[in-house]
Symmetry: C2
Subunit: 305 residues, 2 copies
């Protein structure tokens, strides 16, 4: 049975990813939206999610807004008995995500808190290859130019906006999918003098076996951009690069399935709805909260867009 | 069957609380300890937990050290097949607590991450009274003089030392036990210019019903100390004061069972061991992490002991 779905927030990510994938999916029928400024061609675009839920006969809602307003929308949609797909990060706090999970369980609907980077082409192959290896060390480097990727986006620098963890959480979502459980032992957050959120983070983790795991996130990288996870093992070196889309083992490029992150996410959402299950993994956001809780902070040069 | 137990960390809290309670408990037999500086009279005090675990025939371990070193001790004790009692907070990060929970499940031992304030005399009576009331508002005030309670304790001000959340987490452990689920919407942390951790926090929470819940933690209070939770309801005002040990409803003092926080904790630990269960509720620590993640920070006057 086709799932009738409405999207909330018709911005860049909705137009670039959600709408084309929903148009191509056999599982979903995109019939409506709620957005203050955007519009879709598939049906009525309402001004608010409450209007959309009152007016439309839909089974599911996909939330594509910024994280600050997502919790209330999710709460309202679950209360209306809709299945909910949440973009990463699933909330501005860990506790609100726990409450949504409880609410979805009580209402008997599916809540899917998605981590799109986990559906990058190389992630599953990397996970399967690492599963029977002994790890010697892990080095995560996620270094990009914030001026290029988030020009003038003030909210990302505000308290709760997460700063460099906005991309960094993608690295953590992959690392938590392909490595055994690990936890922060120490770290350093670099905060521009005129901002509330970090522009860089240097995090040291370990796992039960004592493997050194280091993550470096930096938003000040110009020139080539780096989104790499390198794992040294007893059976060679795995390098997952370009955000999970390329995989090399001992320098040899691996053949991967075609890139289809958002298609993978919606396939998973449809499968969860069919099975009557939820998937709410807070591990990546928990690592970010742990870093805020535990790491040292250093004030660095002011950042101007 | 009496549970043979060893304690790790023979400091003030062990001497004031754990040892007298274990001496009086019919469930436990305190037979050994590990401590670098302290000593017990009940048996050999070893220098390290590893030495204690290798030398002694014990069923359970109680960890009474500062949180920074507790994770490794818990991991070693669980790996040795011992039941483990952890003082609050259960870890320096949320993720390490999750990993301990997983490890205890795999080893088939009991892990009890304790919140001693939940065993204060008035907490259970407050919870039961609130259970069928509609809440109008909640005001938590936890204000004390850090110079009196933590003189010269530098570690408490370091990154990961949690500052005013060290007492504040006690308030949160009671609030999460007596109120429906709530989450942070905004907050302010005040950080002394010469310290890494907050000296005060002003936190705004709400719940699914929209109840305003405010928590004020402050370590700069001289004169009378305040550890109050006030709940306005449709059926009157509940005031839980002195850290949960006194309870008034509409100003009328309620009769409570005698104060026995640590006895309550060890009774619970024994019951969990008998039932083959664990109790690892991270909700209070998750609220602290959420505050670090989400709240604004303001630099305030330097603090000198």
């Amino acid at each position: 049975m086709v799932i009738r779905i409405g999207i909330v927030g018709v911005g860049k990510i909705a137009r670039d990813q959600h709408i084309p994938v929903l148009d191509a999916s056999p599982d979903f029928d995109l019939v409506t939206a709620a957005s203050r400024h955007g519009r879709i061609e598939h049906g009525v675009t309402h001004t608010t999610i409450e209007e959309m839920l009152a007016a439309e006969d839909i089974d599911a809602v996909s939330l594509c807004q910024p994280p600050q307003v997502r919790f209330e929308a999710a709460r309202v949609a679950i209360a209306a008995g809709k299945h909910v797909f949440l973009e990463k990060p699933p909330g501005a706090t860990l506790t609100e995500v726990e409450l949504l999970r409880d609410q979805a369980r009580e209402k008997g609907v599916t809540l899917f808190a998605s981590w799109h980077s986990r559906y990058a082409a190389g992630v599953e192959t990397a996970r399967a290859w690492l599963a029977d290896k002994s790890l010697h060390s892990v080095h995560i480097e996620w270094k990009e130019d914030v001026r290029h990727w988030h020009p003038g986006q003030a909210w990302i620098w505000e308290a709760g906006g997460m700063g460099v963890f906005d991309p960094g959480i993608n690295a953590l979502s992959i690392a938590t999918a392909i490595l055994p459980g690990f936890f922060l032992t120490e770290g350093l957050l670099e905060i521009p003098a005129n901002r509330a959120s970090p522009i860089a983070a240097d995090l040291h983790f370990t796992d039960a076996a004592g493997t050194p795991i280091r993550a470096e996130f930096d938003w000040r990288q110009t020139g080539p951009q780096t989104w790499d996870i390198k794992v040294e093992t007893d059976a060679g070196t795995l390098l997952l690069s370009k955000g999970g889309s390329e995989l090399r083992i001992d320098g040899v490029e691996q053949t991967l399935p075609p890139e289809a992150e958002y298609r993978g996410l919606y396939d998973r959402f449809a499968a969860l709805i069919a099975a009557g299950e939820s998937d709410v993994d807070v591990a990546p956001l928990r690592h970010v909260a742990d870093a805020y809780l535990r790491a040292e902070r250093r004030q660095v040069e002011a950042f101007e867009d």
